[in-house]
């Protein structure tokens, strides 16, 4: 992941669920993960986040990974202090979670993820 931002579009449509992804809809998640180089915590955070997203938000999210070593000017916009920081840009309100996202339960609570019905 040498690129500054790697975008993950909703991969495969979830066949079991009622509706396909409503891009921009109220239950569509836009997430941005800020990292600074390929540090162990960054790698762990990316892995954790992907797993959570696939489990809970399949088809309803878009994840962007921003490496601040490459784009330091982006740190100011989201007021990034800690690394890694996960920002839920959609749906509002903006929420932030810092850390390597190793505690799945707190990430789910922190992102206010509705349980998949």
């Amino acid at each position: 992941m040498k690129k500054s931002s790697a975008e993950k579009s909703p991969a495969k449509k979830s066949p079991a669920k009622k509706a396909p992804a409503k891009t921009g809809g109220s239950d569509f998640y836009r997430l941005r993960l800020y990292i600074a180089g390929q540090t162990p915590n960054s790698i762990i955070a990316i892995a954790n986040l992907k797993k959570i997203c696939e489990d809970k938000l399949k088809g309803k999210y878009r994840l962007e990974v921003v490496d601040l070593l490459e784009k330091p000017q982006l740190a100011k916009g989201d007021q990034i202090i800690a690394i890694p920081t996960l920002v839920r840009r959609l749906p509002p309100p903006v929420k932030k979670i810092i850390g390597n996202l190793s505690k799945t339960e707190s990430v789910i609570v922190g992102l206010d993820l509705q349980p998949v019905r």
Binding site: A36, I44, L69, Q79, A82, I83, I98, G99, K103, S106
Partner: protein, 496 residues
């Protein structure tokens, strides 16, 4: 800059210093803050630490060609720019010219969830980016303690702060970190533990309803520094610190003489008047002509083309000008010529230290050759005499170093033994002139005599002081006044 740039003294040690450009602070620290190191500035809210940081950056950018970054955790760029614009600092212009960059770091209290390990690389990257953008040499972090409210894991925060300070030093940046004063420690979160080189504490105290700001250098590794508290002032020109000028009595005694403004009084002093650079005390009861004597002295100096600074604590300048016209003294023309500057202050407007700071700043700005303080009595009233004496010691010392001739008037009260009232200050004075009222044979008159005048053979006789529309004159020697020759000033005796 609106005031003269202080020339930092050369440091005796090899420690490199970065001048702050703040009046007085560079003298107190022997040249400025340790170069390439972190300095902690701590104090309570409103003590002036943020301003000190901003001045450090602005002076650095303008006077010393060192761009600076302010990472502000409390105020937005816009607010900060508005705050310092009253001091004549244009942050937007400096930002445009890439000389100063403010980065507002917003800490969302309790709105950030934490899960798992993290570090503060985001902050490092932002700071590094800002530093790189303008090639900064100076950094201010104001106030980094705000992080404690946004970052829950204080163990991580502490190790990251220590890494941050090390990083600043590795980058050879001269930095100021501000910290809120704690109850039992210098700072609430113990920032002093991370800063090894220089710690400055600011204080804002209110005694008898009069506030005074003070600055103290708690620690300065590798440099001898004063441990005293230095009064400082924040006014339209920013911060100015009053150094206790010389700790040793090394000022040069001048041998030139200057006129007292009254020919007959000059006659009583070897026909030459005061020594230049000496301090003169004029004491007397109400209405004995102290201010008139001061005004004569002032006029004579102005007539020689010298700059005079007249501090009045009792009357407004226009009142003095009017009163002096009635005794034949036209001071207004010297005001118009720019040779005479009045500064009127209410004694209670600020604390003694505040007055000292104002006097200090004006003298540094205007560089007068004569200073009049009329009267010191009013400064004495709001506080104890110990403070007055220590303030006067500093003031007299400062004036002597600058080789400025100073005249102080002091009101004594009828029936009060003048030796006692003036005891606190007389020993500091080189010349002491006493004025008094008396009524021999039912005819009231004013009398003058020179109680002491160091370094010269002065007359010890009392003379009548005649105040008329034509000005001040001294009459014949009064033979019927034995006291004039019997009063001895203990300090004068000791000096011999």
């Amino acid at each position: 800059m609106p005031y003269a740039k202080p020339k930092p003294k050369a440091a005796r040690t090899s420690l490199a210093k970065t001048p702050t450009g703040i009046q007085g602070l560079d003298e107190v620290t022997g040249g400025g803050l340790p170069k390439g190191r972190v300095t902690l500035v701590c104090g309570r809210a409103g003590c002036g630490k943020s301003l000190l940081g901003m001045e450090f950056l602005v002076h650095g950018a303008i006077q010393y060609g060192e761009p600076g970054v302010c990472m502000n955790f409390e105020e937005t760029e816009e607010k900060l720019a508005a705050n310092v614009s009253s001091l004549g600092f244009d942050l937007r212009d400096l930002a445009k010219r890439k000389k100063l960059l403010v980065d507002y770091v917003s800490i969302e209290r309790n709105r950030i969830a934490e899960t798992g390990e993290y570090n503060l690389d985001g902050l490092f990257i932002r700071l590094a980016h800002a530093v790189k953008t303008i090639k900064a040499k100076r950094v201010v972090l104001d106030s980094v303690e705000a992080l404690f409210s946004g970052i829950a894991d204080s163990a991580i925060l502490r190790s990251e702060l220590s890494r941050l300070f090390r990083w600043l030093e590795d980058q050879k940046l001269t930095a100021i970190v501000t910290g809120e004063a704690g109850t039992n420690a210098l700072t609430r979160h113990g920032l002093e533990e991370y800063v090894a080189d220089c710690v400055i504490s600011l204080d804002h105290r209110v005694t008898e309803q009069i506030s005074t700001r003070r600055l103290r250098i708690v620690k300065y590794r590798g440099t001898s520094h004063g441990t005293d508290e230095y009064p400082f002032l924040i006014d339209q020109d920013g911060i100015s610190v009053v150094p206790i000028t010389s700790l040793v009595l090394t000022h040069k005694a001048l041998t030139d003489r200057i006129s007292t403004g009254i020919a007959t009084l000059d006659e009583m002093m070897e026909g030459k008047g005061f020594f230049r650079g000496s301090s003169v005390l004029v004491t007397g009861t109400a209405g004995t002509g102290k201010s008139s004597l001061a005004a004569n002295f002032t006029r004579a100096a102005c007539a020689r083309g010298e700059l005079c600074l007249y501090f009045t604590f009792e009357e407004s300048p226009s009142q003095i000008l009017r009163n002096m016209r009635s005794v034949g003294l036209d001071l207004e023309r010297w005001v118009k010529k720019g040779l005479l500057h009045f500064n009127a202050m209410r004694p209670t407007s600020t604390g003694l230290e505040g007055h000292l700071a104002v006097i200090h700043r004006l003298i540094t700005q205007l560089r007068p050759s004569v200073v009049v303080i009329d009267p010191i009595t009013n400064l004495v009233s709001p506080s104890g005499s110990y403070d007055v004496k220590s303030m006067l010691v500093r003031l007299v010392d400062f004036l002597k170093v600058k080789q400025i001739t100073s005249l102080f008037t002091n009101l004594t009260f009828a029936g009060d033994p003048q030796e006692r009232t003036a005891a606190a200050v007389s020993s500091l004075m080189d010349t002491w002139i006493v004025l008094r009222d008396s009524k021999p044979n039912g005819r009231p008159r004013r009398e003058l005599y020179v109680l002491k005048s160091r370094g010269m053979e002065h007359s010890r006789e009392a003379r009548e002081l005649i105040v008329s529309k034509r000005g001040l004159e001294l009459g014949i020697v009064l033979k019927d006044h034995p006291q004039a020759t019997t009063v001895e000033d203990p300090s004068a005796v000791a000096a011999k």
